[in-house]
């Protein structure tokens, strides 16, 4: 990887938008080029300068007392773990998975078992009853995908109820999942998207669901041959960066 390519990763990371697979490449590159850490620190400092654009807001006094009291009864971590910017970035985007946390999902078997239908150009309106925000990035991305010459789609049933269609375009690398009649989740649970290439699932973000429906632009690139899956995870996404339960949906982005 060239320094220019690495600096793209570093900038995205400093701004908080580096996807999970790129996070792995970032860590690998930094391991190989530890002298690049200065540039990473400089990017982080520049991003923090953006924070100054937000006006200061004094928090309520009661909150101060609450926070100080909470700290008083909380133990500190003794080990000098790496600074937040270098530790695992929590949340679905940028989460690293540790090898021991990965479970041996038989993704290829799931793909074969999923009922895969090739549907050309399914309009969003025919599947959803509630209208998604027309200006949402996911809806815009879906329109762009459907306008692409290599637009493709595949559908499958969701375990527990519901139907989902994956739309993708190889030339764009974008994929949008449209789903309806999704099962209701407990308040501390969320649907997480995954892209599986080979053996390893990588988080592609959380699904925002409204009345059992979603239009979700995956945070990761989807290429033909990839499998897109959805699992139910704790709110905020799997803390380990790997799925903690069996997929409720698996759709293969079939190679054309």
């Amino acid at each position: 990887m060239t320094l220019d390519e690495f600096m793209e990763l570093s900038a995205a990371r400093a701004l908080g938008v580096l996807p999970a697979r790129d996070e792995q490449r970032f860590v690998a590159a930094l391991t190989e080029h530890p002298d690049w850490l200065d540039a990473v620190d400089a990017d982080r400092a520049a991003a923090v300068a953006l924070a100054a654009l937000a006006p200061e807001v004094v928090p309520p006094l009661a909150l101060r007392e609450q926070i100080l009291a909470a700290a008083a009864r909380t133990p500190q971590r003794e080990t000098a773990a790496s600074a937040p910017s270098e530790s695992r970035v929590p949340g679905p985007i940028g989460a690293e998975g540790s090898g021991s946390d990965r479970r041996g999902f038989r993704w290829s078997i799931l793909a074969a078992a999923a009922a895969v239908l090739l549907i050309a150009g399914v309009a969003v309106g025919t599947q959803l009853t509630a209208s998604p925000r027309e200006d949402s990035p996911a809806v815009l991305a879906l329109q762009q995908i459907e306008a692409a010459a290599d637009a493709a789609a595949a559908s499958a049933d969701v375990a527990g109820g519901g139907r989902a269609t994956l739309h993708w375009s190889e030339s764009r690398g974008d994929a949008v999942l449209v789903a309806s009649d999704l099962p209701a989740l407990a308040a501390d649970r969320a649907f997480e998207l995954w892209v599986v290439r080979g053996e390893t699932p990588v988080s592609a973000g959380l699904m925002s669901v409204d009345e059992g429906q979603t239009v979700a632009l995956l945070a990761e690139e989807v290429r033909p041959g990839d499998l897109v899956a959805v699992t139910v995870e704790p709110s905020g996404g799997s803390p380990s960066g790997a799925p903690t339960s069996e997929p409720i949906l698996a759709i293969a982005a079939a190679a054309s």
């Binding site: 900038a11 938008v17 520049a46 654009l53 971590r77 925002s208």
Partner: protein, 199 residues
């Protein structure tokens, strides 16, 4: 030549080797000093809360995130390396990540108008009069940002404040993903340069 900056209302010497007050406090926090933690909270909480509120909008969730952030500061202070940067940056980086994670964890975006990211584009100050009105620290960043080409400025602001994924940012900007990555990289590096020039 001795120069000084004002950061969060506190004069910080530019002399080499000088440790800024927040960093000195955070080092004491790592040693378990509760009074240092309270002082650090008083020094930074308005800046941190302002950032969280800007990203999350919802006040009640913002208060929860503020508590999460400062608890994490308390727990992991030993990981702060004063040689690599200021405490203020360390805390704000943590706060930004927590706020963005909370945005992404929302089950539905009814609670928060995700177009707040787009609102940022309109409100990024570009005129000299607007810049003069801002506080010293804020205006330095605003001036530096205003010196960037619009395309880079938009990419930075939308990515940092919007809570979007990189692909969502590209869709909203109407540009290919590769172009957006380049704008973020070049914009951040230009911002860094402009901030140094302004000192």
């Amino acid at each position: 030549m001795l120069t000084a900056m004002v950061i969060d209302g506190v004069h910080v010497s530019e002399e080499p080797g000088a440790v800024d007050p927040a960093s000195a406090l955070l080092v004491r926090v790592a040693a378990g000093e509760h009074d240092a933690f309270a002082e650090l909270y008083d020094l930074l909480s308005a800046r941190v809360f302002g950032l969280i509120v800007r990203i999350l909008v919802d006040r009640s969730q913002s208060e929860e995130v503020l508590q999460e952030v400062f608890l994490e500061v308390w727990q992991t202070a030993a990981g702060f390396d004063a040689a690599r940067g200021r405490a203020r940056s360390w805390v704000l980086t943590l706060a930004h990540r927590r706020a963005v994670d909370r945005v992404r964890a929302a089950e539905s975006d009814r609670q928060r108008d995700r177009r707040v990211g787009l609102r940022e584009l309109a409100s990024a100050p570009s005129s000299v009069e607007e810049q003069v009105q801002l506080r010293v620290d804020g205006s330095r960043a605003a001036q530096a940002l205003a010196a960037l080409p619009a395309a880079q400025r938009e990419a930075l602001v939308l990515a940092y404040f919007g809570g979007y994924s990189q692909r969502e940012v590209a869709v909203l900007l109407g540009a290919p993903l590769g172009t957006v990555k380049t704008r973020m990289r070049d914009g951040l590096s230009r911002l860094r340069l402009e901030m140094e020039v302004a000192r």
